[in-house]
């Protein structure tokens, strides 16, 4: 294969965001060996791409050559620093790697790439709680990152003994709400309720308790904001649409929440809640 067509092939992979490590490595390495020196921006990207492929295939010496060239050309570049971190992940102990990303983040807390690498290292190291905690923090700041959301959904769904656990969805819903994605929050709350109440024969005589109670509150809050029409409230970083029958959902949630406050003892609390439910702030 000619030099130019090899370069083109690699460029295509980058354009399509394809991993294709074996192929990238094969062509990339021969280009490197033949002394092809990068002349423009694209060529530096090729080095980064080759480094990643080499790390993937455990050809760390090739990765190191690429890193060396990149480091010399772009000293102090955050992008190169993250690439260095990825290279370290392949051979250094986890504590060293985590410390390294920590230092990057202390120097620049807005380095999203470093943050994400750190989270993925934590996840691989089975520090799931920490990984989840940091991912939630990350999404609080970078809430329009769909990759981050998918990762969170994946952590929640793939780390349960029983994948049909509604608690997961309530937790996810609350996270989505805190990050300003109301349609996603509402959807997740509704999924949780579906799981918990789909076999409920007579809802009027069975008010929600525990987790379902919490989820209905969440639904009511979301519906209220979404119906309120404040600017930007229906925008969804995860592109979740607002459900069609929002008003019915809102009415049902009102009924379900209120239904839990039965009996004379709960009267004062019922009135308090009733007042909140009927206001449309």
């Amino acid at each position: 294969m000619s030099v130019s067509s090899a370069l083109q092939r690699l460029a295509n992979y980058r354009f399509n965001n394809s991993r294709a490590s074996l192929d990238v490595f094969k062509h990339g390495q021969s280009l490197l060996k033949s002394g092809v020196t990068p002349k423009n921006d694209e060529s530096w990207e090729f080095l980064e791409q080759l480094a990643l492929a080499a790390i993937d295939l455990d050809k760390l010496d090739v990765a190191d050559v690429c890193l060396q060239k990149l480091g010399a050309k772009f000293p102090g570049s955050p992008r190169v620093e993250v690439l260095t971190g990825i290279r370290m992940e392949a051979s250094e102990p986890i504590t060293t790697v985590l410390e390294y990303y920590n230092d990057l983040l202390i120097a620049d807390p807005t380095n999203a790439a470093a943050w994400k690498r750190r989270i993925s290292v934590l996840r691989r190291a089975r520090s799931l709680d920490k990984a989840t905690e940091e991912l939630i923090q990350y999404l609080d700041t970078f809430y329009t990152d769909p990759e981050g959301w998918l990762e969170l959904a994946d952590i929640y769904v793939s780390n349960l003994l029983n994948p049909q656990n509604p608690f997961t969805f309530v937790q996810f819903a609350e996270t989505a709400y805190s990050s300003g994605d109301l349609p996603l929050a509402l959807k997740m709350f509704l999924v949780a309720i579906e799981m918990m109440e789909r076999d409920l024969e007579s809802p009027e005589t069975t008010p929600p308790t525990g987790l379902a109670f919490r989820a209905w509150w969440g639904i009511k809050l979301c519906a209220r904001h979404l119906l309120g029409g404040a600017s930007g409230v229906t925008s969804s970083p995860s592109n979740t649409p607002v459900p069609k029958h929002l008003k019915s959902v809102d009415a049902l949630a009102t009924e379900r929440v209120l239904g839990a406050y039965k009996g004379k003892e709960l009267e004062e609390r019922r009135r308090l809640v009733e007042r909140w439910l009927s206001s449309s702030k």
Partner: protein
């Protein structure tokens, strides 16, 4: 401190340069104490309800409403709890005058981004709102163990320790200096905190009286 010095002085100038006095009643302090005591290693939070005659005037904290013991960010449940607490305050002629929280780690005495956001919202309704961070090291001693935070110059700042809040002559006072010792007694010897419930608890069990917590208040309060 300057209650009678209002004549001829621009009140606005005074209120913007000096923090108003804050006096915390036994009921309010006990509730905060029981809340923190019930969840020793968790980030509890809640609000203080009270009165203030005019902006910049002395604040009387009369009651506390506990919110959560399990949160990492401004969650939907925090918002609902806060709304309901605000409503309850209004129905009883009170206002939300302060916010309290304990952090998860003993050494962590900051407000944090969530605390600041919450206080920002509360400030929209009550200009002199104060933040109190529970001091994990002093909690359980005879000290009040509350670090006040106030808003000045566009940001939330901790009141410097040199100001000695809750000591004699400070702008921040407990209605009686032996409240911390009494509270500790009620927790240790009589387990008052066990009957205590916050909004989180209420969501688990609707019969929990999180808004008043009548049963856990000592008779002498």
């Amino acid at each position: 401190m300057f209650k009678d010095s209002a004549d001829g002085i621009n009140i606005d100038l005074l209120s913007s340069s000096m923090a108003p006095t804050v006096r915390i009643s036994a009921v309010a302090y006990y509730k905060l104490y029981f809340h923190a005591a019930k969840h020793p290693h968790q980030p509890v939070n809640g609000v203080f309800l009270g009165t203030q005659d005019k902006v910049g005037g002395p604040i009387e904290v009369q009651d506390a409403v506990p919110l959560l013991h399990h949160w990492t960010s401004l969650s939907p449940m925090m918002e609902i709890g806060l709304d309901l607490a605000g409503q309850f305050a209004q129905e009883n002629g009170l206002k939300i005058v302060a916010y309290y929280q304990a952090q998860r780690n003993v050494g962590d005495v900051g407000l944090g981004p969530v605390g600041e956001k919450l206080l920002g919202r509360l400030r929209e309704q009550f200009k002199d709102v104060v933040g109190f961070v529970i001091d994990g090291e002093d909690f359980g001693t005879d000290k009040a163990a509350l670090n006040p935070w106030t808003y000045s110059g566009d940001q939330w700042k901790a009141v410097p320790p040199s100001d000695k809040p809750f000591s004699q002559g400070s702008v921040y006072q407990l209605s009686s200096p032996d409240l911390p010792t009494k509270a500790l007694h009620y927790v240790r010897e009589e387990g008052h905190h066990q009957a205590f419930g916050d909004f989180d608890d209420h969501l688990e069990d609707v019969t929990i009286d999180w808004i008043r917590n009548r049963t856990c208040i000592p008779i002498d309060a």
